[in-house]
C-alpha cells in the first residue's frame, strides 16, 4: 500500500483498550509455564512412574510406552536403560518418548496462536502494540517448520491408542494368588479419562480434519469422508478446550500415579 507509511506505529503495550486485555495471555503464560515445569521435573525423575500396589497396574502417561525399566514394570525391552546411553547423562525413560506429544503440542495450531501471544507478545493481545518492529511470522524458517505439524499428529495418534491400552490394562488387577480379575479403581478411571481427553484433543486436530475430508472440494461423491469431516469438525470447534483439559489431566494422571508410587496416597479400588 503506497501510503502505509502514514499509519501509526505503536509502542509495546500501547492501546486504547480499557478492558483487562492482559488477563488471558497472563493466564496462558502461567498455565503453560506451570505445565512445562512440572512435566520437565516429572520426566527427569526416572522413578515413581509405575504403581502396582494392591495388584493395581498404573503407568504414568509421561512414561508410556515404557521402553526401559525395572523387571516388575511393563517395559518393552529387558533392560533398565539402553546400552547406547552415555553413562555421564542422567537417564529417564520419559526422555525417549516425550518428544512425540511435546512436538504435537508445540506445533498445534491452537497452542501456536496462544504462545505467540503469551510468550512472544506477537501480539500480546488484539489491538495492543508489540515489542518488535520486524516480523516474519510463519513465513520463513524457523516458524515455517510448523508446517510439519501433520507428522507430529501421526505420531501422537499412535500414543492415544497406547494410552487407551494403559487405561484398559489398569482395569485388570493381580490377585494375591497370581490370578487376574477385573476391577475399577480411581487410578483406572484417571487413566481412562486421560486417554479420552487426549483422543478428543488429538483427533480434533486441524490436520486430521483436513486430511480426512477438508481437502476435498466436492463432498457429494465422498460420503464417508464427509461424515468424517463432520465428526472431526465437532471436536475441532472445541479444540482449545480439549487442548487445556487434556493438558491438565495428563499432568494430573502423572501426579496421581506418582503419589501412589511414593506412598503419599493409596489407589482406592472401588470394586
Amino acid at each position: 500500500m503506497s501510503n502505509a507509511d502514514t499509519l501509526k506505529r505503536r509502542s509495546f503495550g500501547e492501546t486504547a483498550r480499557i478492558d483487562a486485555w492482559w488477563l488471558k495471555p497472563g493466564l496462558v503464560f502461567v498455565g503453560l509455564t506451570a505445565f512445562i515445569a512440572y512435566a520437565t521435573w516429572a520426566g527427569m525423575q526416572g522413578k515413581h512412574y509405575f504403581y502396582d500396589g494392591g495388584g493395581a497396574h498404573l503407568l504414568s502417561p509421561f512414561y508410556s510406552p515404557l521402553l526401559y525399566g525395572q523387571a516388575h514394570e511393563p517395559r518393552l525391552f529387558a533392560a533398565e536403560l539402553p546400552s547406547w546411553w552415555p553413562s555421564f547423562l542422567p537417564f529417564s525413560a520419559a526422555i525417549l518418548i516425550l518428544a512425540g506429544p511435546a512436538g504435537m503440542r508445540v506445533t498445534c495450531y491452537y497452542y501456536r496462536g496462544a504462545y505467540y501471544k503469551s510468550f512472544w507478545a506477537d501480539p500480546v493481545a488484539c489491538g495492543v502494540g508489540e515489542p518488535r518492529k520486524s516480523y516474519w511470522g510463519e513465513h520463513r524458517i524457523p516458524l515455517l517448520l510448523h508446517n510439519a505439524h501433520r507428522y507430529f499428529f501421526y505420531v501422537a495418534g499412535v500414543y492415544v491408542f497406547i494410552l487407551f491400552y494403559d487405561g484398559l490394562r489398569a482395569l485388570v488387577y493381580v490377585n494375591p494368588d497370581g490370578s487376574h480379575s477385573l476391577g475399577i479403581g480411581v487410578g483406572s478411571i484417571v487413566l481412562l479419562l486421560n486417554a479420552c481427553f487426549l483422543a478428543g484433543y488429538t483427533f480434533g486436530c486441524h490436520c486430521h480434519r483436513h486430511l480426512l475430508g477438508g481437502h476435498l472440494r466436492i463432498f457429494a461423491k465422498a460420503p464417508v469422508q464427509h461424515a468424517c469431516y463432520q465428526c472431526i469438525s465437532m471436536l475441532n470447534r472445541r479444540h482449545m478446550y480439549w487442548a487445556w483439559v487434556s493438558l491438565v489431566w495428563v499432568g494430573f494422571s502423572d501426579l496421581y500415579v506418582r503419589m501412589c508410587a511414593m506412598g503419599v496416597w493409596t489407589d482406592w479400588r472401588i470394586f
Binding site: A16, I18, R112, N147, H215, R217, F219, A220
Partner: protein, 247 residues
C-alpha cells in the same frame, strides 16, 4: 438523564487527536446514535461513514474503546459509560477525515485474487448442478459484509504494515470460499504462499474475535488454506505420492 463523555478522533491525513464531547445517553442507543447526536448538537462537520444501521453494509467500522467494532451494532448499555467512550478510526488504513478511512487498498487486493473459474456447465442450458452438502461449507464465508474489521485488528497489517505482502484475513476468507467452491476449477494455493503471504498469519485469531458476522476466519478459512499450502509444498510424502501416481 446523565451525560456521557465521548472522546472522538478528529483530524485528517496530516494528523489530529481526540476531542471530548458530552451528550445525553438514552435507552437503546448504539454508538452510532451518539455520534449522530454529537454531530447534530456540537460537531456538524464530524465525518462518519454509515449506511444501513443494521450491521449489514459494513460501513461504520471504527475502534470503540480500542476494540474494532461496528458503531451501529455496539450498544452503549454494554460499555462502561462512567469511564467515557473513545472512538477512533480504523488504524490499519489511512485516515481521510475524522472517523472515515480510505479502504481502497482492499478493493485493489481483491482484484489480485483469481476470480471464480467454473467448470463447463453440467447441462445444455448452461446451468450447473450442486449437491446441497457441497453448499454448506462456503455459506459461512458468504456472510462477509466487507466491514474490514478483521483487516483492522490483524497485527500483520495493523502493527507491521505488511500490506504489500499479506492480503489479510478478509481475503483469506474470500480465497477459501473459492478454493472450497464445488464448481470452481482454479487454484490459488501457489499465490497464497508466494504472493498473498499466508505464512505471515500466526493464527492468533484476533480477526475471528472481531468479525460481526461470526465467521470463524482462522479455523475455517485460514488454517484449511495453510493445510492446502502444506499439502502442495511442505509434505514430502504427499510430494512423493504425487510424483509416483503421475507417471
Amino acid at each position: 438523564m446523565t451525560k456521557t463523555r465521548f472522546s472522538i478522533w478528529r483530524g485528517d491525513s496530516h494528523g489530529g487527536g481526540r476531542q471530548d464531547y458530552e451528550t445525553e445517553v438514552t435507552e437503546g442507543m448504539v454508538v452510532l446514535d451518539a455520534v449522530h447526536q454529537i454531530q447534530a448538537e456540537s460537531a456538524n462537520d464530524l465525518a462518519v461513514r454509515w449506511n444501513c444501521k443494521a450491521g449489514k453494509c459494513g460501513s461504520c467500522s471504527a475502534e470503540i474503546n480500542g476494540r474494532s467494532r461496528l458503531m451501529c451494532m455496539t450498544r452503549l448499555s454494554d460499555l462502561p459509560l462512567e469511564q467515557g467512550v473513545t472512538i477512533d478510526p480504523m488504524q490499519t488504513f489511512p485516515v481521510l477525515r475524522d472517523l472515515v478511512t480510505d479502504v481502497k487498498w482492499n478493493y485493489a487486493t481483491k482484484q489480485r485474487i483469481q476470480k471464480f473459474t467454473p467448470r463447463t456447465p453440467d447441462a445444455e442450458d448452461g446451468t450447473w448442478r450442486i449437491a446441497t452438502v457441497d453448499t454448506e461449507r462456503v455459506q459461512e464465508f458468504r456472510k462477509c459484509i466487507e466491514c474490514y474489521l478483521c483487516q483492522d485488528v490483524c497485527h500483520v497489517l495493523r502493527e507491521h504494515h505488511l500490506h504489500d505482502e499479506f492480503i489479510g484475513p478478509r481475503f483469506m476468507v474470500y480465497a477459501a470460499a473459492l478454493e472450497m467452491q464445488p464448481l470452481d476449477t482454479g487454484s490459488r494455493v501457489k499465490a497464497l504462499k508466494e504472493d498473498f503471504g499466508i505464512g505471515y498469519c500466526n493464527i492468533t485469531k484476533c480477526c475471528t474475535d472481531v468479525c460481526p458476522e461470526g465467521i470463524k476466519i482462522t479455523d475455517n478459512a485460514i488454517i484449511p488454506l495453510k493445510e492446502r499450502v502444506a499439502d502442495e509444498y511442505y509434505d514430502p510424502i504427499k510430494r512423493l505420492w504425487r510424483k509416483l501416481t503421475k507417471t
